[in-house]
Amino acid sequence: DTAVSQTPKYLVTQMGNDKSIKCEQNLGHDTMYWYKQDSKKFLKIMFSYNNKELIINETVPNRFSPKSPDKAHLNLHINSLELGDSAVYFCASSTHYEQYFGPGTRLTVT
């Protein structure tokens, strides 16, 4: 009975490729997020999104784009992958203040 799920768990790909990470939440939350956690374990917000508003962290390259087919899903598309994109990506959702995180997707770009 997973609350926030992500696929795939691991993703290994080459520089220059385009990839997607999927996220689904079954909590009925109205806001979803993507975070990046780097090798130093620093967790940084990339996007927050609900049906009214997309907020993009200004440091996120435009190669990254969130796409939401419906309220329960927020997928992350990454174009032209670079070595520096290697990290763990977490999806999260919330309806009030506390956020519920998925298990993470470890992306390795070679």
């Binding site: 374990k41 940084k44 927050s48 907020i55 919330s94 203040y97 956020q99 298990p103």
Partner: protein
């Protein structure tokens, strides 16, 4: 510049003692502050939230304090157990920002020794 600093990267403590973790912030005006727990290979899990007008919050063996004058939050785990070993993250939401955009500290890895 804006910073959120957690006292140390790693903290070792003996079982049964109280663990105290520190979160200091600079150039933020947080409306509230949250603490999360993260285990290896997993996503963060919400523990506690404290608002700017609250001094202290408790939940079972956990206690959080928030001092907006000192720009600091303390997170205490009393009667610590080896199962409490994890990385603990503080996160804040600014008064002026999006209501739900969290900014995280870098975390403190707590190890409770049996």
């Amino acid at each position: 510049s804006q910073k959120i600093e957690q006292n140390s990267e790693a903290l070792n403590i003996q079982e049964g003692k109280t663990a105290t973790l520190t979160c200091n912030y600079t150039n933020y005006s947080p409306a509230y502050l949250q603490w999360y727990r993260q285990d290896p290979g997993r996503g963060p899990v919400f523990l506690l939230l404290i608002r700017e007008n609250e001094k202290e919050k408790r939940k079972e063996r956990l206690k959080v304090t928030f001092d907006t004058t000192l720009k600091q939050s303390l997170f205490h785990i009393t009667a610590s157990q080896p199962a409490d070993s994890a990385t603990y993250l503080c996160a804040l939401v600014e008064s002026s920002g999006s209501a739900r955009q969290l900014t995280f500290g870098s975390g403190t890895q707590l190890t409770v020794l049996p």
